[in-house]
């Protein structure tokens, strides 16, 4: 069509010299179908190639020098830690209902080491949906009115000042601990932290202060850490809240006891601070474990797919594997491990690499098929958790303040004998000591290594420069197809008119017609705008629905769906209903709608890729094929060829998959099995998204859903 257009142009007047870039653009637009097929295939292929292209991690920051110092944690410190574990698991300590006894024990232990100790009381803040609080940092200085003495948590904080340090920086060690129903694992994690802490009070090489936070996890691990961080980073100056909390007798009791029992100690009632945080480690020990060897799992994803600096993971991985002989795990999507198609894909890549190597020995990019499958499973989970935008542990609270943090979960091979317990205390303690000593060597913030990456194994990563290619290839055809459709719609209507009327009529109405035609896309733009507006309304609806008391997730979801449909119909009818009164004379109306839709999707995906790449990548996988293939079903039915039939099927399938709830249930079914899928699950899932201020929620509501509606409207377009 473009050729014909050019021909007509050349007929009219001598062709002006076209610059090469413009000519290339015209070429791409005129071959947009081929380009889009090639690009999309390449994009998907590149995504599957990522595990092959993954590079080995390396310590990028010279100053870290992990493992260069031999561990100093000795059996003496381990037995100290063991003592604390015993005291905590002792049934006497659990007598108190609020678990205050355990906190006292911990504080006493810290004081005995000569650390500064303070308690931090906090009232758990329930995560609520605040429509305007996306992307904003956690609320500071907010005063809650209805404190009740029954619901508060106590964080125990111990601080070691670096003997010769300047006190400007600190390293944080967090152990979540639920005093009311602590398992043996939690006590053990406290034991490990304590043994490290007791060592660190003696060493001379500290350059940064050490903060040990025993986070009261009875209201959730994240809430406790977040509350402490909020207090640490943005102090409250209102005098109202503090006496409020201290009126509770139990807390006062606690403080008084402390104050009396140890006179002249470093215990303080006020909130204690150290310097800015260089890094934070959250340490957990899992209770039950069926693994055959001691493993350590690293959780790194924070809110909105933010990751800590790769160097932190590298240091932990290096020390765990090469010094302590622990196996390091990162999350995998387990169902993918057994998928046969992935295995065969890995075998194909492997054999391809072999062929390449035989052609030119220096090409070494192949990895074994099993490794490929594992890498893909890890990569998929990395993508999934980043896309979700929900932190995978208490470390997420630190990332909100730009502190690099990870959660380490040690899962020991379980046995009850004492030797084993000492062993895990020693190795875990030495690992933590090594990481702390390494971070202690740091001179600046973590900045050398990557912040944008996907892990394919604990020691392999794909950096932003590589994974962006897959996404860029996926969305590259969008603007071309949009332009091509626009040109197409304009020129074809031109031709249809030319056929029907006499040549004189063309010249007559030419100018006027061109003027109208060139502005016709505004009509479609209006439609697209209205649908996006509707998307925004739909995203706001849960805020009101959640205000309804005693509403089960299923009913909430139903209400949401109903209200959404209602609002769509209303907006349709109120705002001139472009769908219904699309002028039947303009046959290519749908093409213009599609063109504008594709443009808006392109913009939406581009914006989202900046905010949360993983969401944009998954969204692009769902939406790009649907957008590109969308075509009125009627046309395909009318054509009746095999090609149009295929397209019809594809359209129907994609139209189902790309619907957000459908995509959710499909994913959930794939991961957990379809048996226990429930309609309310989607509501719960969405609720968790907005509770964590995930941008994914906005993306689904304001990009994906409108896009889906528009595509469906194109599918059912009456032409």
């Amino acid at each position: 069509m473009a050729e014909t257009k050019e021909k007509s142009l050349s007929d009219e007047k001598p062709k002006p010299r076209v610059r090469p870039i413009v000519r290339l653009g015209i070429f791409l637009i005129s071959h947009s179908f081929l380009v889009s097929v090639v690009c999309c295939t390449a994009g998907v292929l590149a995504l599957f190639l990522l595990p092959v292209l993954a590079k080995n991690t390396y310590i990028s920051e010279n100053a870290l020098m992990p493992g260069s110092a031999s561990p100093m944690l000795s059996n003496q410190h381990v037995s100290d830690g063991n003592r604390l574990v015993k005291d905590l698991t002792n049934p006497n300590s659990k007598s108190s209902e609020t678990g205050i006894e355990s906190h006292k024990i911990i504080a006493q232990y810290m004081l005995d080491l000569g650390a500064e100790v303070s308690f931090h009381k906090f009232h758990p803040q329930m995560n609520q949906f605040h429509p305007l609080h996306f992307f904003s940092s956690p609320v500071s200085g907010k005063i809650q009115e209805n404190y009740s003495c029954s619901s508060y948590g106590i964080n125990t904080v111990g601080i070691i000042r670096a003997p010769r340090g300047d006190g400007k920086e600190a390293i944080v060690l967090v152990t979540p601990y639920n005093a009311l129903k602590s398992g043996f694992g939690e006590a053990l994690s406290l034991g490990i932290a304590y043994s490290v802490f007791s060592l660190l009070t003696q060493v001379t090489w500290l350059a940064k202060d050490i903060i040990w936070l025993v986070a009261d996890s009875q209201y959730g691990e994240y809430a406790a850490v977040a509350a402490w961080l909020r207090e640490y980073q943005s102090p409250k100056f209102s005098s109202l809240s503090t006496p409020n909390a201290e009126m509770c007798p139990d807390v006062n009791n606690l403080f008084e006891l402390k104050g009396h029992s140890i006179s002249g100690s470093k215990f303080s009632n006020s909130f204690r601070r150290a310097g800015t945080m260089a890094a934070a480690l959250v340490l957990k020990v899992r209770d039950q474990n069926e693994q055959f060897e001691d493993t350590i799992s690293i959780y790194a994803e924070a809110s909105n797919g933010q990751m800590p600096n790769l160097d932190l993971i590298n240091v932990v991985n290096y020390l765990a594997v090469h010094r302590q002989g622990l196996r390091v795990n990162v999350e995998k999507l387990w169902p993918l491990l057994n998928s046969s198609w992935l295995k065969s894909l890995g075998e194909i890549f492997e054999s391809l690499a072999k062929v390449a190597k035989s052609l030119y020995p220096k090409w070494k990019f192949g990895i074994p098929a099993t490794e490929y499958v594992e890498g893909t499973a890890t990569l998929a989970s990395s993508l999934y958790y980043q896309a979700l935008g929900v932190p995978t542990g208490p470390h997420g609270a630190f990332r909100d303040y730009q502190v690099d943090a990870i959660t380490l979960e040690i899962s020991p091979k379980f046995s009850l004998d004492k030797v084993w317990r000492n062993d895990i205390l020693l190795r875990g303690g030495r690992l933590i000591e090594g990481v702390i000593r390494s971070v202690n060597n740091l001179l600046e913030k973590f900045h050398q290594s990557f912040f944008l990456y996907l892990l394919t194994s604990p020691s392999k990563f794909v950096s932003v420069g590589v994974y962006m290619i897959a996404f860029a290839l996926l969305i590259a055809p969008l603007p071309m197809v949009a332009a091509s459709l626009y040109v197409d719609a304009n020129s074809s209507s031109n031709y249809s008119k030319g056929d029907s009327s006499t040549p004189s009529a063309i010249t007559d109405t030419d100018e006027h017609g061109i003027a109208i035609r060139s502005w016709r896309w505004l009509n479609s733009a209006k439609l697209v705008f209205i649908v996006h507006l509707w998307g925004a309304i739909v995203s706001l609806l849960p805020y009101f629905i959640s205000q309804i008391p005693d509403c089960s997730p299923t009913t909430s979801f139903m209400i949401w769906v109903l209200l959404s449909i209602l609002s769509l119909l209303t907006s349709n009818s109120v705002l001139a209903s472009p769908l219904a009164c699309a002028k039947a004379t303009q046959e290519k109306e749908w093409a213009l709608v599609k063109s504008v839709t594709i443009s808006s999707v392109f913009i939406g995906l581009g914006l989202m890729s900046v905010i949360n790449f993983a969401t944009a990548e998954i969204g692009a996988l769902l939406m790009v094929p649907m957008c590109l293939l969308a075509r009125p079903l009627k046309l395909d039915v009318r054509a009746g060829t095999l090609r149009s039939f295929c397209r019809l099927i594809c359209n129907l399938v994609l139209g189902h998959i790309a619907f957000p709830p459908a995509a959710f249930f499909l994913l959930k079914g794939m991961l957990d099995g379809f048996g226990n899928a429930n309609v309310g699950d989607f509501w719960m899932w969405v609720e968790s998204l907005w509770a964590w201020n995930s941008a994914t929620y906005l993306f689904i509501g304001m990009v994906q859903l409108p896009c889906w509606v528009l595509c469906v409207s194109i599918l059912f377009h009456t032409c």
Binding site: S70, R164, V203, L443
Partner: protein, 405 residues
């Protein structure tokens, strides 16, 4: 000078400007050879900061200790340390620096005089030290007060690359800068011989631009090679010494001040397989044979001793032959005067006094009167009558040069 056709009484007067002319010629063409090795200096530079570069400071301090042990006094050592590892909070042994994991030797013990420390160690200050262009407020202890009889050891360690050496993680010394500084030093007669020893990655490239004679350079690695650390002290948690420096020190630990080990034995002591890099030494600018130069000429303060019957006599004999060559090379405007001069030169040594005297006036440190008196005393030893006459001319000479200036 037109009054050449004058009687013999004017002969001496005539001779004076000729001597002046001559001395200036001699001065420009071959100044260094005229001087003896009279003193030793060492400039030891550690250019990198940060805790993980502990080894660079340990390198420099070890070398500092070695040259001090071999006889270079503290006031002739300029020690530049870009960071203070001893007092770094990460140091497990506060106020101590070790270059070996056995911790036997504390390099940061007593009597360590650091002349430039911390952020004072910059490219600018380094070049100022070499070229002697200091601001007036800089104390003498921070200056390199070398002269044309000095042997200087310049040791540098840090992070380097192709034709550069990093200073302080923020700036670089390029090979051009170094070559330029050395050239200036040469022109200002700040050294007789200079040994540059560099322990960085691609150290050899730093010498590429050197042109000045009398410079000997040795680097730890060739272009494209890294210089590696020798071992890690797992107690302190850092690498404590670099390979090249470690083996240099190992060589010197066997020596004392009376040893006669030559530079070539030092250079051949480096084993590339132990160093994991190839040492490179550039000797094309250096005249003497390395086999004949004892290492203590640079690393210690041991000078050649020449026995003479009389003070200053030996000095003069060295150069008399060469002057003639230079004369013949010169163009012929004053050829007659020159012939006369040569006549004087034969069996004469007074001409040597003149440059010394001139220099004595230039150099602020020497007292012209005492030199003058020396000359008089010296004249008694000389039995030639002509010499008496010439010595008597010296006041005139002094006045005339003074007027010329």
């Amino acid at each position: 000078m037109e009054t050449f056709i004058n009687p013999k009484s004017l002969f001496h007067l005539l001779l004076l400007p000729c001597l002046l002319l001559y001395s200036s010629i001699a001065y420009n063409s071959s100044p260094v050879e005229a001087a003896m090795h009279t003193n030793n200096w060492a400039v030891l530079v550690c250019t990198s900061r940060f805790w993980f570069n502990y080894r660079h400071m340990a390198n420099t301090l070890s070398l500092y200790r070695t040259v001090k042990r071999l006889g270079i006094p503290d006031e002739r050592i300029i020690l530049m340390l870009a960071d203070d590892m001893a007092c770094n909070t990460r140091n497990k042994y506060p106020a101590q620096v070790f270059n070996n994991e056995n911790h036997r030797l504390n390099l940061y013990g007593d009597n360590v005089e650091v002349d430039y420390r911390g952020y004072e160690v910059t490219v600018e200050n380094f070049l100022r030290v070499l070229t002697g262009r200091h601001e007036t407020a800089v104390p003498r202890s921070k200056r390199l007060l070398s002269d044309e009889g000095s042997h200087i050891l310049l040791y540098m360690t840090g992070h380097g690359g192709d034709e550069f050496l990093k200073f302080q993680d923020s700036e670089e010394l390029q090979s051009h800068d170094l070559a330029d500084a050395v050239k200036q030093m040469k022109e200002k007669h700040r050294f007789k011989e200079l040994l540059i020893m560099v322990d960085t990655c691609q150290a050899a490239t730093l010498f590429n631009q050197l042109q000045s004679p009398g410079v000997l350079a040795i680097g730890s690695s060739m272009k494209g090679e890294n210089s590696y650390s020798h071992h890690l002290d797992s107690d302190v948690g850092v690498s404590v010494v670099d390979r090249f420096t470690y083996y240099t020190l190992a060589f010197f630990e066997r020596l004392n001040i009376y040893d006669n080990a030559s530079l070539s034995s030092l250079f051949s002591s480096y084993n590339p397989s132990l160093l994991m890099s190839t040492t490179y030494y550039r000797k094309d600018l250096y005249k003497r044979r390395l086999e004949e130069v004892p290492v203590t000429n640079f690393f210690g303060s041991v000078m050649e001793t020449i026995h003479t019957d009389a003070a200053y006599k030996a000095l003069s004999r060295r150069n008399s032959g060469r002057f003639e060559d230079e004369m013949s090379l010169d163009q012929s405007v004053h050829h007659i005067k020159r012939r006369m001069l040569i006549k004087v030169n034969d069996g004469d040594e007074i001409h040597d006094i003149n440059p010394e005297l001139l220099q004595g006036e230039e150099g602020a440190s020497k007292c012209p009167w005492s030199t003058f008196r020396n000359k008089f005393q010296k004249a008694e030893n000389v039995d030639s009558l002509l010499n008496y006459g010439l010595v008597a001319m010296i006041p005139l000479l002094v006045i005339s040069t003074w007027l010329v200036q």
